[in-house]
Amino acid sequence: MQVGRFVHDRLLPIGTILLVIVLAWYVAAYAMNAPFQRDTDRRAGVTPTSSEFLVKTMSQPKPTMPAPHQVVENLWKNTLTVKPWSKRSLVYHAWITLSATLSGFAMGTALGVLIAIGIVHIPALDRSFLPWIIASQTIPILAIAPMIIVLLSAIGITGLLPKALISTYLSFFPVAVGMVKGLRSPDVLHLDLMRTYSANKVQTLWKLRIPASVPFFFTSMKVAIAASLIGAIVGELPTGAVAGIGSKLLAGSYYSQTIDIFAALIAGSIVAILLVTLVDLAGRFVNARMGARQP
């Protein structure tokens, strides 16, 4: 029963969609790699048959669009055939990125919630601070990330923290925006109820506003975790591409190693999906604890 539902509700749909994507991907790989292959063949003076040509488009060392099996092979090689803590292992790089993402995400969520709480309770903050938070978010992080890292390393902060800080910077905003809305979403009637108890702000916050904001909270966290991941990867670039998914992307792009890029991307997205799923599960758990009606 459980297994059957899992197959029916998860495996089957995901499998189907994946299949469609893989097929489309192969078609795209052929279409995008073909012109270059034609040029190469022309320069080399060979005229391959169409099946030979097809195979060639799928096995270029630096294809415009790597074929799925090339990426899978690369992933396989870089995860399962090397020790997970070796520098060649994607697991190692994914772990580096994951740790920066998680710490950034934790700090960003905390900061976002704090800011939202401040904005909801302090009119001066709402008026003077919010516009500047918004403005701060429009600053392209990649432009100032190097400066931040340089500045921080000048005062002796290196390693995980600078990356985590950039993650924080990107992830607090979705949380703040969502939580401002969420904390303001309780029913007027429920707020009145708390007023009749002359509950203080902390009590109203803790017993009413925060529970009422839960749907907003988890939704924002999902967006924030994706943003943290971006932040962590951006933060890895100015450190000279030493370790992490970001460094793999960067190194791959210096040498046009598209297969490496794709493999790193996929590793990154696996990390992402893992994190988003975790948040989702946490959301479901909390929802169930809060007595939400089962669908």
């Binding site: 270059f36 080399a44 630096k62 415009t64 400066m147 000048a154 000279g240 210096y254």
Partner: protein, 298 residues
């Protein structure tokens, strides 16, 4: 003594000398504890040194002089690279065969401080870089050769020791490519030199350290040029990618360095400064932007 060296780019054979010197213990012999920080496309070594994150940096003369005008007192203390490695390449079956064919075409150029030689050259040719039929369209090129493979640009920038070989790897044969080499055209600006802060150099102890540092570094270069395969291996150990590629790069880099004496050739400096002045990248003739004090003491 502790010395922090900020590279201009990621770890690759372009900086093999420094990695070798560290790996082979040349720095240690000189009594130095050197930390090598790799760079990347988003790292401005000038910023790092201004922020106190490094004692000495590898930089191109163009960037260094521009920073000097903005108040970062960079001084060239050594110039291991005698020649420039940058060139513009075009596929032979494309529309461009000579300088005269550039008009109306798209050229890939690196920015981030690497664009000065190109603009100096176009300036000399009298071509506008604003696009249109009488000028050239400039594409800010990513640090790879995709624009050429994708035919987004008619010519792209490469380094002799790096991207050129990526093209070869991608199936181009040398005869498939038309090459405009900045050094050969006499349009080159000085590349990878070593720069330190002016005010720190006034301290004799620091100057002394720099002498030791440059000397040990050049010993590293000498060793690297003599043992290119081993040098490539050392680079790989320090985070380089693609060993074959590093070996080839080591070979090409050796050609640019020539005699490893680290001495700056004043004519090359004058030419660089003039080109930058002509393009208004700097507004006044730089003073004291280089010194032979360090190399003289070696």
């Amino acid at each position: 003594d502790k010395v922090t060296l900020q590279l201009k780019w990621v770890a690759q054979a372009q900086f093999a000398g420094y990695f070798v010197a560290k790996d082979k213990g040349f720095y240690e012999e000189a009594g130095l504890d050197v930390e090598i920080k790799p760079g990347g496309p988003d790292i401005a070594p000038e910023q790092v040194i201004a922020g106190g994150g490094a004692d000495v940096i590898v930089d191109w003369m163009g960037g260094a002089l521009a920073a000097r005008e903005k108040g970062v007192g960079l001084v060239n203390i050594a110039q291991p690279y005698k020649k420039a490695g940058m060139e513009l390449v075009c596929p032979a079956d494309g529309p461009i065969k000579t300088e005269a064919d550039f008009k109306g075409h798209t050229l890939g150029v690196w920015f981030y401080g690497n664009e000065y030689p190109f603009f100096a050259w176009m300036n000399k040719l009298g071509l506008s870089t604003e696009g249109g039929a009488d000028g050239v369209t400039v594409l800010k090129q990513s640090f790879d050769v995709q624009p050429l493979i994708q035919k987004q640009a008619d010519c792209i920038s490469v380094m002799t020791y790096n991207e050129y070989w990526q093209l070869i790897d991608a199936g181009y044969k040398p005869e498939d490519l038309i090459v405009f080499n900045y050094s050969e055209m006499g349009n080159d600006l000085l590349e990878d030199g070593l720069y330190a802060m002016e005010d720190k150099l006034k301290d004799p102890a620091f100057a002394e350290t720099m002498v030791k540092f440059v000397k040990a570094s050049m010993k590293g270069w000498e060793y690297a040029i003599a043992n290119p395969d081993e040098a490539a291996g050392i680079v790989m150990d320090n985070g380089g990618q693609d060993e074959n590629h590093q070996k080839r790069m080591m070979g090409e880099v050796a050609k640019l360095i020539g005699e490893p004496d680290a001495k700056l050739i004043p004519e090359a400096y004058e030419r660089t400064a003039k080109a930058l002045l002509d393009q208004k990248i700097i507004t006044k003739q730089p003073e004291g932007a280089w010194t032979s004090e360090i190399t003289d003491k070696m």
